[in-house]
Every structure is written in structure tokens, then in C-alpha cells.
Point group: C2
Chain length 599, copies 2
């Protein structure tokens, strides 16, 4: 049983599952692919709209990326493609450099996918997947909640059939309010109707189907097909009543084709403008994707290699960029559906790609009359499920600093946009972590009478003498808290002129860096100037190894005690005799000098 | 005996010492003031030259700032004034916005002092002194070493009497090499002679004086006056031989006066350009000053209030800015001299101010023939003592990450300048700290036969079963390491299909943030999916309090054990019976369930 053995890296996971591929597996994968394809078609169109791109680009981004992931990915069930948050980030980034609806806008989105793919592959090659860990859960959760609200707000204009625009939630809503008098009634009826229908499908259809006797799993699957029904019905209505002539915005004519290959033109200015957003999209996308992959893998005791996942997601984005798509990642909803539908290998993704490819080739004429309001309704219903305000309350209750980071992320995202929100959240959570470790919990401890245990004098009824002060620090010692420790010790010694021995008790000190070592040396020297002897107790093995490599041990005026009890027995024997006399000698002999803690 | 009791803040420390001021104290303070004054005069002139300012500005910066510090400072012996590193930083900052020798240059230096003073006072009012803790010792030490090298190199042109300029060490030295053929022989003789003399004074004079019978302390004092002797002799030689006519650069005529009051004109563009450097100067200056103050205070068991020190240094800089001076801080050398000379109260600083004031009024005519080469020699000898390359080797030996931060700081400072150096050092040391805590030490532990202790299976001969895995994590759990813990656990469980219980042993976990809590919840859920029960052991009191506030405890599939031994006794009793049967029941009964660790 060993921990973190270095594993042979598996660059092409496809080789390990493809050779055992059997007919039964094919049947399961193919069924899952059909179900996911039905779910993905409206979703891909909708997210392309959210990204400000022509709807077929959403289909393009759901073909080759799936094949690339099937070859390189380590998850058996992850489904990649356009997702809501990445689409929003794409719209924000590309909107900075090009006007929506222009060829430049599409070219920039393609470039964004290529940059993001390149960055992800590089991160994977250099094994930098751990960088994503610096996004804390509260920051991610706050960011997704705020993004969900912004996305929903940005789609309201399609529901009302008005023009509205804004860079943050406030501007979006006021712009909407200013234009609300232009609202188009047929659009509103389609939009509001679709939204209500989809909410009902999500909340009420599956229970209803189960109630009339359908298998629970099958009922869940059927409910996922709700958006397809909404799309079909509203296309039919719009075409039949020619609602487009009455102001209902429709997708319009789209030429059916497989994704055209695109070789992005290298444009240095464009690269410079998009590299920052590409990095952000890569990291956010990676975090979303790896979370889903790990959740699903754990259920079947499979494992995910985060660094290989970076390469797989990078390959998926490069594939997207070279086939006229835009940034993609592994999505929550579609992966769960893929898993529930019984997908066993990444081949299911490849079959889904075939399904979407057929749709791109033959179904686009059918989409001509698809109202944008229907797509907006699909988006709104999907993203509002991401909004989790309850999590804010729970996080605040558990930890004030985590809650602060989360609320800051939400407010800054809503007020200043998605990029500022993430950057603020990450910076704040790192700063608060550093702040916390820079102000460690410290306690003056005393002997619990009749035992060999030591406790905080502020909280327990313990015995202390006037000759010895023992301070316990509950944190690794490093540059940010070293000076605070010095200050605390100087204050203590200045306030207690009768003190002769100072003991630093280190059972929770996991490391001591060079700054803290200098502080300990300074403490030793300054305490010597004050005629106080400096001791350590309960120092961990690896920390002790480090101290022995330095000159600290040579100059230490006092000793390093294995246990705090042995320190007190040596430095203030009277207290020990007076308060622990009831403990039998044999026991005292056994546990007063426990071996140094394990390394 | 209490820790960190909230103290009444003492806004005017002068009130606490002035009322007990007696004649004897005055005598001691006055003597110290005379000695410091003699030392400060050449130093102030030299540092002004280093900052690119007229020499008398160095004197101006050594008058009112000392009075301000005497009123607001909490150190009894700190001596403020111009120092080498801050002078270099001033030259770098002001050189960006004005041409040396112009009125704009002086105005910018004055503005820098005002900005720095304002920033320091604000930091003090908001109690932000702890921010300086994020500068680690290796970064400060590396920065000072590199600054010392740059300063020394920048003064070589004065020693050789040539023109040379460069933004980094490499450019400085190549520029010097290009101009070396223009060297002025009389200048070189004065410069090299002064340098050699001052090095001898520093290294050889005090031992020599002690050898011929002088008191050791007095010998040290006399040696500090070496620069004054060098200044006097070279002034005499230059005036007598009219060396200035032979190309020796001299200070020239300076009108004797008290520092002219200056009210800096508020210029928004200038403020914007200087605010960054002002913040950097403030923090570097504060770190230098507080280190000296604490070292000296500890020797007499006095205490320093860091937040009040910020206010005092801020007041000193404001005083400098409003009296035609430039940024100041507490200096190493002068404070040590002040202390050794017997200064008892900050009044010694005020008396020094009077001494320097008299010098500014009456001595400036004497400085006309002072060769710049002599001042450069003073600077070189002073700053080379700050260069500590041995510390680099020791730091690398103690800790690779600290060594890396130190070397990066030195190289970037030498190659790209002082500001880039500090920023790189701080960013790198924070990143390396986060990286270290994001990859905590983890160990699978087993039972040491015949005891109740648990050790790392990789290092010790311990007993483990196949039913229970126990993982010990030696770090607080937070967002940056939560996912790594999850990965490690999933891998372990995937590799050991026979496992039924997983125990996370937490004796060194000082906190669990919201992200780590979510990871623990995810672990619990995923282990449940794998039919493995999840337990914790040896959780600290405050961490347990937090867990109880969350829903984690409701969903936990296993238990929280007070000790790892009690966990094993419950989960795999056979191993305990087999390997600890020799331990008597009574002892086992006492220590198998130690109380929860103190809070």
C-alpha cells in the first residue's frame, strides 16, 4: 500500500479501452449517444446564441471536440461541448475585439478556442493542473451563481423581443427596463411559454411520468428531451403562422454542412488581446470539467488523471478551433445524462459526434424558423439551476473568510463582469488564507493537574508557575507569522519580569522556513540578552531535521524537549511534584518521553 | 499571564518618557548626540549624493525628521535619517520623472517623502503594519545584498572620475568599462585612498586602538568617526592643491542655511508617477527600521509598537518633505552607534538634530572643496558591509524554496532594478509558500507493534491490515490542497479493492476551510458509493467546532475518533489484539482515549 507512486503516464487512454471493446459495450454507448445527441442539439444552438455566434457554430463545436476527447480523455463518461459559463466568457472576450455578427467576431472566437487549447495542452505537458486548485470552492460557486444571474438577465431581451445591452447586471436590467415598451407580443408569448414549459419539464415532468408508471430513470431521460419538444413546437408555430413577419426574431436560413475546416490566421494583436481571456476560460473550463469527471469516475471506482485531462481538453479546444467552433469544456448536465444513459467508454462521445454531424448536415434547414426566444428560454432554465444562493448562507455560517470571498466574487462579477469577478475572488481568497496563517492561533499553556497534559490557560483550569512560560503555536512558522511570534514573545517576557525559561511548544508546527528560523535565532539571542533561556518542545521529526541542518541548535540557550511534560519536569520540578504526585512513577516513566512523532 | 491583551494605544510616547526626564539622562543623551552627529554629517552628504540630490539635502533630511521621531516614536534609541537603500530607491524613482540636477528633481524627491509619510501614517492609523510581514527574510536579505552591489557599482564612477550610467549592474559595469580611459588620476588617488583608509578604519582601527590600551567601546566609537577624518583630510588636500582645477569633482559652494520650509505643489501626474515607488520605499524603510528598533529594544527589555512606529516614521517623512528633505527611515549603523553611545531617550535624536542644524548653518562653506570621490568611498565602504553572500549559501542549505526566492530577488534586482527585484521576491515567496501548503506531506500510517503509536509505513516497521487505510495529513486543509487530498484518497481506494474503512488522521490539521469541507463531503459521498466507510481521528477542538456547525457530521458514514488507536481498536480489533496484547490493560485504558487536544 503506497501513496502517490509515480505512475507511467498514459498519453493515449483510447488504447487501453479500445482493445477490450465488445458488441455489448457498443450497444450501451450507442444508446447513450442517441439520448445525448437529442439533448445537445438545442443546447448547442442556444449556447452559440449566448456566445453571440451563429447557431450552427454551436453544432460545429459539438463534433470534432468530442472525437478529440474520446482519444485523449481519461474519463469514461465526460461529455464535452459548449457550456453556459464558457459561452458567456467567450461573448465577453470576443466582444472586446470585434462587433457581433461580423466575420471578425467568428474569427476571434475560433482564435480563442485555439489559444485556450494550446494553453491547456501546455499546462498538461508541464503538469500544471494543480494551478486550478487555487480557485477555491466558494469562489467557483460564487462565480457560477453570479454568471448564472448575468446569463439569465442577458437572455431576457430575447424573451421580450427588445434590444438591450449592458456590461453588468445593473446596466443590463436598466437597459431592459428602458426598452420594455418596444416589447413584441408574439415573441413574449413564445419566450414566456417556452420558459414556463421548460421549468415544468424540469420540475414536474419526471415526477408525473413516474406517477403514471414509467421507470424513474427513463422518466428522467424523457424530461431531458423537453427542450427538443419546445424547439419543435415553436418552429412549427412560427412557420405556420409566419410569426417572423410579426417581429419574432428567428435563427434564419443556415446552410447545412459539416464543420468547415478553419486555419486561424495568426494575428499578433488579436492573440495579445485574447490571451488573458483564453487563460481564464481554460482554467474555469478545466475546473468545471474535472469536477464532473471526478464525481462520475468515483461512482465506478475509476480514476481521472488531471494532467492528461488538460491535454484532452486542450485537444478538444484545438479541434474546435480548427473546425470553426469556439471554446468547449466538459459540461455538468450532459455528462450526467451520458452517464445515466449507460455510456461505458468515450466511444459514446464519438457516436454523439456522428449524431450532431448528421444534424449539422441535414437539420439546419429545419431550424430556419426557430425563434431565438425559445433558445433563450432553454438557456434561462438551464442556468438558473446553477444559481445557488443557499450555498452563500451556508458558507458564511461555516467560515466568515470563505463567505467574504464568495460574496465579493458574486458582487464583483455582477457589477464589473466575469473576469474581474474571478480575479477578485482568487486574489481575496489567497490573501485571506495568508492573513489567517499570518495570525496563527497561539496559547499560553499550563499543566492540567494530575495529568501530563497541557492546555490553554485562558480556557482551562491549569497550573502555571512564574519561572516558566510555555507558548503553543498552532500553525507552521513562516515569514508572514514569524515577526508576530517574535512580538508576542517579547511582550510576554517584558510583562513578566520574573520569567527565567521560555518554552515554544510546537506539536502543530509542520514546517519552519528560513524567515521563521531567523526569528527563532533572534528570539534566542534577545531572550539571552534578557537572561531568559529559550527551549522548544514537541518538535516534529522533519522540522527537527531542518533545525539540525542550521546553526540554530548550536546557539540555542536551552533544550529541545520531546514532550512538554519532560520540559516542565526539568525546568520547574516543584510544580510537577506538587500537582502530578498522584500519577504512578511507572506510567510517568512510559509516557513522559514518548518517541518523536513519526515523520 | 495573558497573551496579546488589547493595549491602550499610546499616540504620543514622548509624554511617557519626558516627565521622568532628569539631568543624568540629559548628559547621556547629549553625549550620544555628539557622537551620532559626527558620524551623520558625512553620511548624510554621501547618501544625498547617492540619491542624486545636492549634498545639503542630506543634512536637511537629518534635522526635523529626528525631532518628529522623538515625539512619536516608541523606540528609545532608533536614529532616523537618510539611509543607503532608501536613497537608491529614491534615485530610481525620481530619475523616472525628472532630470538629475534640476529643480524638478528636488521637487519630486520632496513629493516622494510627503507621499511616503502620508502612506506610512495611513498604514499606522489602519494598523496595517502586519503587511510588512509578507516580505520574507530571504527576500529582504537578497534585496539588500543586491542593492549594496548596485550602490557600490554606481559609486565607482566617482572614484574613477568618469561618466558612467546604467539601469542595472551589467549596464553600469559595461558603461564604466567603456569610459575607463577617461579616468582622472587625482580623483582616483583620492577615491581609492579614501576607500582603502575607510576599510582599514572599519576592520583594523578598533582592534589597533584596543591593542594600544583604549577601552573597547571607545575604540569602536572613534572608528565610527573615520569618515569625518577622511572628509577633513581630503577637503584640506583638495583646497590646498586646488585639485578641482585638475578635474577632481567637488561638492562646490553651498549656501549655509537651516532647512528651507517647502510646501510641495500638488501635481496629480507627479503623484501618480510616484505613488508606487512611495509605497515600496515606505514598506522597505519600515521593515529596516522596525528590525533595528526591535533588536535594540529587546536588549533593554523595552517594547516597540509596530503600528505606532508607522505613525512615527510617517511623521518623520512628512517632516522631511516639508523641510526640503527626502525619504528617511531608521538606519542600522547610526542606531547602533546611538545605542552604544548610551542614548537613553528619543531626546538624543532631538539633540542630534540640533547638531546637524548647526552643521547645516555654519559648516557648509567648509564643504566646498569636499571631493565627491570621498563621499563615494564612504558609501562604498558602508554598503559593502550589507552584502552578505554567505547568507545565500546558508539559506539554500536550509530550504530550497527560500533559497530560490532569495536568488531570484538578487538576480532580478541586479538585472532589472530594485523595484522589479522586490516585487519578484515577494510574489515568488508567496507562491512558493502556497505551493508548499498545496502539496502537504501525507503518510499512510500503521501501528507500531506493542504500542499505541502510529507511524509512516514508508519509514517504519509498522503493522497495517487490508481492511483499514489510515492517511495522516500534515497541513491545514484548505482550497489549494483539498483536491490533492481527494485525488490521493481516490487513488488509494481504487488501488486497494479490499478496503472497507478509510481513516483521515488530523493531528496537524489546524483548520479546514469551506473548500476542504466540500472535499471531505465529496470524499464521504464517493467513498460511500464505493462501499467504504469514512472516519476521522485526532481532530483538534476548534476544527471539530467548525465541523459541527456544518452538515458534514450528519452525513458522515463513519465516526470521529479521539485517538487513532481507538479508531483501529474499533475498526480492525484483530490487529490490535494480535500486536498490542503485551500492553497492560490499565495503561491502555488510560491513554487509548486521551482527551481532545486543548483549544
Amino acid at each position: 500500500m503506497t501513496l502517490r507512486q509515480s505512475r507511467r503516464r498514459d498519453w493515449l487512454p483510447i488504447l487501453s479501452w479500445a482493445k477490450a471493446y465488445r458488441g455489448e459495450t457498443f450497444a450501451n454507448d450507442a444508446l447513450a449517444a442517441v439520448i445525448v445527441t437529442i439533448m445537445l442539439i438545442p443546447q448547442s444552438l442556444a449556447y452559440a446564441l449566448l456566445a453571440g455566434l451563429p447557431p450552427q457554430v454551436g453544432l460545429y463545436a459539438s463534433i470534432l471536440p468530442l472525437v478529440a476527447y474520446a482519444i485523449f480523455g481519461t474519463s469514461r463518461t465526460l461529455a464535452v461541448g459548449p457550456v453556459a459559463v464558457v459561452s458567456l466568457l467567450t461573448a465577453a472576450a470576443v466582444g472586446q475585439v470585434a462587433e457581433q455578427g461580423t466575420a471578425g467576431y467568428l474569427a476571434a472566437a475560433i482564435m480563442l478556442a485555439v489559444l485556450s487549447g494550446t494553453f491547456l495542452v501546455l499546462m498538461g505537458l508541464f503538469r500544471l493542473g494543480f494551478l486550478a486548485n487555487f480557485l477555491s470552492h466558494p469562489v467557483i460557486s460564487g462565480f457560477i451563481t453570479a454568471s448564472g444571474l448575468i446569463i439569465a438577465a442577458s437572455q431576457l431581451k430575447h424573451i421580450f423581443g427588445v434590444d438591450a445591452d449592458g456590461e453588468n447586471l445593473f446596466l443590463l436590467l436598466t437597459s431592459l427596463a428602458r426598452h420594455i415598451s418596444d416589447l413584441n407580443l408574439p415573441t413574449l408569448m413564445i419566450g414566456a411559454g417556452s420558459t414556463a414549459f421548460l421549468f415544468w419539464v424540469r420540475k414536474g415532468l419526471a415526477p408525473f411520468l413516474t406517477a403514471i408508471g414509467m421507470d424513474e430513470k427513463a422518466a428522467g431521460m424523457v424530461a431531458k428531451a423537453g427542450p427538443v419538444l419546445a424547439v419543435a413546437v415553436t418552429i412549427g408555430l412560427t412557420a405556420w403562422l409566419r410569426l417572423d413577419a410579426q417581429g419574432v426574431a428567428i435563427v434564419g436560413e443556415v446552410e447545412g454542412s459539416l464543420p468547415p475546416l478553419s486555419v486561424p490566421r495568426f494575428d499578433l494583436a488579436l492573440v495579445k488581446a485574447l490571451i488573458g481571456p483564453a487563460i481564464l476560460i481554460s482554467i474555469i473550463g478545466f475546473v468545471e470539467s474535472i469536477s464532473v469527471a471526478q464525481t462520475l469516475a468515483a461512482k465506478r471506482r475509476q480514476r481521472i488523471d488531471p494532467d492528461q485531462e488538460l491535454i484532452a481538453l486542450g485537444a478538444a479546444n484545438l479541434a474546435s478551433g480548427f473546425s470553426s467552433g469556439y471554446p468547449v469544456t466538459g459540461g455538468f448536465a450532459r455528462s450526467a445524462v451520458n452517464y445515466d444513459a449507460g455510456a461505458e467508454t468515450p466511444a459514446a462521445g464519438a457516436y454523439t459526434a456522428i449524431g450532431i454531424g448528421l444534424a449539422a448536415l441535414f437539420m439546419t434547414p429545419l431550424l430556419t424558423y426557430l425563434p431565438k426566444a425559445t433558445l433563450a428560454a432553454t438557456i434561462i432554465v438551464a442556468v438558473l439551476s446553477l444559481v445557488d444562493l443557499k450555498a452563500v448562507r451556508e458558507t458564511v455560517r461555516y467560515s466568515k473568510s470563505d463567505g467574504a470571498a464568495m460574496i465579493a466574487t458574486i458582487l464583483v462579477t455582477l457589477g464589473f463582469g466575469v473576469e474581474a469577478g474571478v480575479v477578485t475572488g482568487v486574489a481575496l481568497s489567497l490573501f485571506l488564507f495568508l492573513l489567517k496563517t499570518s495570525r496563527p492561533h497561539m496559547a499560553i499553556v499550563g499543566l492540567v493537574p494530575g495529568t501530563e497534559h497541557f492546555r490553554n490557560t485562558d480556557r482551562h483550569d491549569v497550573v502555571t508557575g512564574t519561572k516558566v512560560i510555555t507558548l503553543r503555536v498552532d500553525e507552521s512558522l513562516y515569514f508572514a507569522n514569524a515577526r508576530g511570534l517574535e512580538d508576542a514573545v517579547y511582550d510576554l517576557v517584558a510583562q513578566n519580569p520574573s520569567v527565567r525559561h521560555f518554552v515554544l511548544m510546537c506539536p502543530a508546527v509542520n514546517s519552519i522556513d528560513a524567515s521563521a528560523l531567523e526569528s527563532l535565532e533572534a528570539l534566542n539571542a534577545r531572550l539571552r540578552d534578557s537572561e531568559v533561556t529559550f527551549h522548544l518542545s514537541e518538535v516534529k521529526g522533519p522540522v527537527m531535521d531542518g533545525l539540525k541542518r542550521s546553526r540554530f541548535m548550536e546557539n540555542l540557550t536551552g533544550e529541545v524537549f520531546l514532550s512538554q511534560f519532560s520540559a516542565l519536569r526539568k525546568l520547574d520540578p516543584e510544580i510537577v511534584v506538587q500537582h502530578v504526585s498522584s500519577v504512578p512513577n511507572t506510567l510517568g516513566g512510559v509516557s513522559a518521553e514518548p518517541p518523536v512523532k513519526a515523520v
